[in-house]
Amino acid sequence: MAILLTSWAGKAYAAYQFNLQPPETFIARQIYDLHTLILLVCLAIFVVVFGFMFYSIIKHRKSSGREAAHFHQNVKVEILWTVIPFFILVGMAYPTTKTILEMKDTSESDMTIKVTGHQWTWQYEYLGEGVRYSSSLATTQDQIDNKAEKSAQYLLEVDKPMVVPAGKKVRLLLTAEDVIHSWWVPSFGVKQDAIPGFIKDSWIRVEKPGIYRGQCAELCGVGHGYMPIVVEVLAPEHYTAWLAEQKAAVAASEAAANKTLSLDELKTHGEKVYTTNCAVCHQQNGAGIAGTFPPLINGTAFSGNSTQNTRLAELGFWKDGKIVLGPKEQHIKIVLNGITGTVMPAFGKQLSDLDIAAAISYERNSWGNQTRDSIQPADVAALRKSANK
């Protein structure tokens, strides 16, 4: 018991929160007030109705000598307690309907961001600006595995947040690449499913600059708990500067695609790419998960379902129940296009040539794999082009 108490006292960071997060948009404020209103109405009904019940429980006991009455109906009362709730409900429905109509009005927006859910990252595309990037969990695997101290924003931090200008109406177009995800930031009052093959829309207008956090709200596989959403709201002038920076970075990255990098450079960058994109399934140590996610270490035993085994064998990565290092070109193709019929996603749509080249170089030269292969961005670009033909 004492241990329990001290461990509770030690958790000073955990401020108790009993209610919705502080609302930061007009819509979120309306939701907050609606919830308060309905909660109070429910509480009032509860007190009145169960007041009767507890009065009865205390007063109408056999042990205090009560004889049971014999009534078993009363039409007036029965009509009354059918009609009164109806009017209470109408009273609730009216303000609610107004809010729904406002939530659904995505017209006259100042800008549009396309949000695409992937297993297990969010991709943000600033339509008409040529800026597109992925946003993944920044919490390290060591923190999750309790090997390192957990940061203050444990599981709610990303490498690169979505950035929007304050005070502007931002229209969001939501879709997904693989399975259904749901984009949710509680303090904005927005939760919209991202559905593969369909585009749904929603909108936000945040007045106050700051950092706002949310999480994926629709079960989307093993990484569901690990795809947070972070939105950084900047004053409009800072936003303009940020956007210019992004455009410059895009230009620089296009230039880098033609460079040749050393294996060490590739491995250093590749480890970062691997950690955010590949480690959820194949694990940080490359060992995968038996029966589900193939290990990437040469010579390790693996048996998945029959589709997986067959596909891996066809691609040259599976012999005699063991994982082998298949041909370079196939390796790039798998990462670019995914493996149909399995969970392996097509990273070609999310990652740049440089990222893919670096990640594969890292995989082929880590955990005892020693091919000395250095895959260059140009190699990836070549295969990407041939796939598009």
Binding site: W8, Y13, A14, Y16, Q17, N19, L20, Q30, I31, L34, H35, L39, C42, F46, F50, S56, H60, K62, R66, E67, A68, H70, F71, H72, Q73, N74, V77, E78, W81, T82, P85, L89, A93, T96, I100, L101, D145, A152, Y154, L155, V179, I180, W184, P186, K191, P196, G197, F198, D201, G214, Q215, E218, L219, G221, V222, H224, G225, I289, G291, G304
Partner: protein
């Protein structure tokens, strides 16, 4: 005729040992089988929940990887719904309906045997699926594609298993409807039937309407997985959201399939221990029917976040809010039944009163969730987890416990131990609230459901929930002990141990004779 003489007469006529249970066509034996099957599944799925709560005791991953965690949440849901709650109510139906309407047995005894023995087959498929490559299904009990289409062979086993369970439910329902409509004692008109029989009649119609819808959704999943169709695959011209519409068209009536018989048990227990007839019998029947009908036009309130048109959101919000009216009528009627009664609080009554309170909390959180803008915040959070455990555990499961304590004396001929029963009640009720009440707060504060690990601000409430859950789980072993002890012995129950009980089963011996009513009683 004494009880012993009856038992002797049986052993001469019927198989003994294991064969008795395999070949039985007796409604009471089959009822017992259903109850034990359900209890075994309840303990198993409860054990899965203990593992879930152990992992969620603290932030970080301690005991398992996310893949296994997702298997646990998925299988906990599926097994509790299809293995524990539904079969328990069918068990009650088998035991009680013939007894309460003055019939010798169910209308189709052999079909009855089959509908039970399909269940262990289906359940084994589900349980074995933990051990196939890739493990059991892990995409949530709601089985949404495209996630569901990604999985391994366990997904096919689950589809097959649910097909079999659906078949069992449909057969059982046909049997129940036929029994109620044809085998009632002379003089028992429909509007004189005990409320428990009424609720089951309506539930059986719900089952017959809803289960084929589930079967069709599952079949479409199966063909999408293996036969190249694209019902739910956008790339082939299908629509993943269509699955959700079909699934919840089954899923919402399913919710009432699990709660209407619980209402029936409450409507039996409360008048008995109030020593007063049920208040508003007619309005109770109409309210039950109204809930059943409304349950078919509210399904999309489970999917307000998919981005449906305004008109759709408004329609499903209004229709969902309407359900609170007949549900309210029921609660008011129960309280009016207690009003100016002569109340005593034996274990069944304690459970019944707790169910009224706690189920109503679940009803209120349901109303909060019906409000579309608020639902947008709360959909897929722990608030929803709190909501459906308040209706399914403190509604359905605790009503089952009330029913078990209420009818155990009739079924076994012995009184259960009242002290143990009360301990079980208080431990269950208190632990239940410690487990699930804080989930309202974590949900409001923004914790998504179905995650193996969570941000630090949710830590304290999660630890509290886990502690509650361990006590709640352990208390159910006390339930097992109390029931087994009652079966093995205890003070003699007599024909009617409850002063206020007036339905037909209490006119028979305890336990009742093999062919319940050989000559039909006359109901005035």
């Amino acid at each position: 005729m004494s009880t012993d003489a009856i038992n002797n007469a049986h052993s001469a006529k019927h198989a003994g040992g294991l064969l008795r249970w395999l070949s039985t066509t007796n409604h009471k034996d089959i009822g017992t089988l259903y109850m034990w099957f359900s209890f075994a599944m309840f303990l198993f799925a409860g054990a899965l929940a203990m593992l879930i709560r152990a992992e969620l005791f603290e932030p970080g991953l301690q005991l398992m990887r996310p893949a296994f965690f997702n298997q646990l949440t998925t299988m906990h849901g599926l097994i509790m719904i299809f293995g524990a709650i539904m079969p328990a109510f069918v068990g009650f139906a088998n035991w009680q309906i013939p007894l309460m309407i003055g019939a010798p047995d169910m209308a189709f005894p052999r079909l009855n045997n089959w509908s039970f023995w399909l269940l262990p087959a289906a359940a084994s498929l589900l349980l074995v699926s933990f051990f196939v490559p890739g493990g059991s299904i892990s995409g949530g009990w709601t089985m949404y594609p495209p996630l569901y289409i990604q999985g391994g062979v366990a997904y096919d086993m689950t589809i097959f298993s649910l097909h079999i369970m659906g078949l069992s439910s449909i057969i059982g329902s046909i049997n129940i409807i036929t029994t109620i409509l044809n085998l009632r004692a002379p003089g028992m008109t429909l509007m004189k039937m005990p409320m428990f029989v009424w609720t089951w009649l309506i539930t059986a119609f719900l089952l017959i309407s809803a289960m084929p819808v589930l079967a069709s959704a599952l079949t479409m999943l199966l063909t999408d997985r293996h036969f190249g169709t694209s019902f739910f695959n956008a790339a082939g011209g299908g629509d993943p959201v269509m699955f959700q519409h079909i699934f919840w068209f089954f899923g919402h009536p399913e919710v009432y399939i699990m709660i209407l018989p619980a209402f029936g048990i409450l409507s039996t227990v409360i008048p008995t221990f109030s020593r007063k007839p049920l208040f508003g019998y007619h309005s109770m029947v109409y309210a039950t029917a109204a809930i059943a009908l409304l349950s078919f036009i509210v399904w999309a309130h489970h999917m307000f976040t998919v981005g449906m048109p305004v008109a759709g959101q408004l329609f499903f919000m209004y229709s969902t809010m309407l359900i609170s009216i007949p549900t309210g009528v029921k609660v008011f009627n129960w309280i009016a039944t207690m009003w100016r009664g002569s109340l005593t609080f034996e274990t069944p009554m304690l459970f019944a009163v707790a169910v009224i309170c706690l189920f109503t909390i679940g009803g209120f959180s349901g109303l909060v969730l019906a409000i579309v803008p608020v639902d947008i915040q709360l959909q897929d959070t722990y608030y929803v987890v709190a909501h459906f455990h308040y209706v399914l555990f403190s509604g359905a499961a605790m009503a089952i416990m009330a029913g078990v304590y209420y009818w155990l004396p009739k079924w076994t001929g012995h009184m259960y131990n009242e002290t143990l029963g009360k301990w079980h009640f208080w431990l269950t009720t208190i632990a239940f609230n410690i487990t699930f009440f804080p989930m309202h707060f974590t949900g409001l504060a923004g914790m998504p459901r179905r995650i193996p690990d969570y941000a630090l601000q949710f830590a304290d409430f999660n630890m509290l929930s886990s502690i509650g859950a361990f006590v709640l789980g352990a208390s159910q072993l006390l339930f097992l002990y109390t029931v087994v002890k009652c079966i093995r012995g205890g003070s003699h129950a007599g024909d009617n141990p409850w002063e206020g009980a007036d339905t037909l089963e209490w006119t028979l011996s305890s336990p009742p004779p093999y062919h319940s009513f050989e000559t039909p009683p006359t109901v005035k």
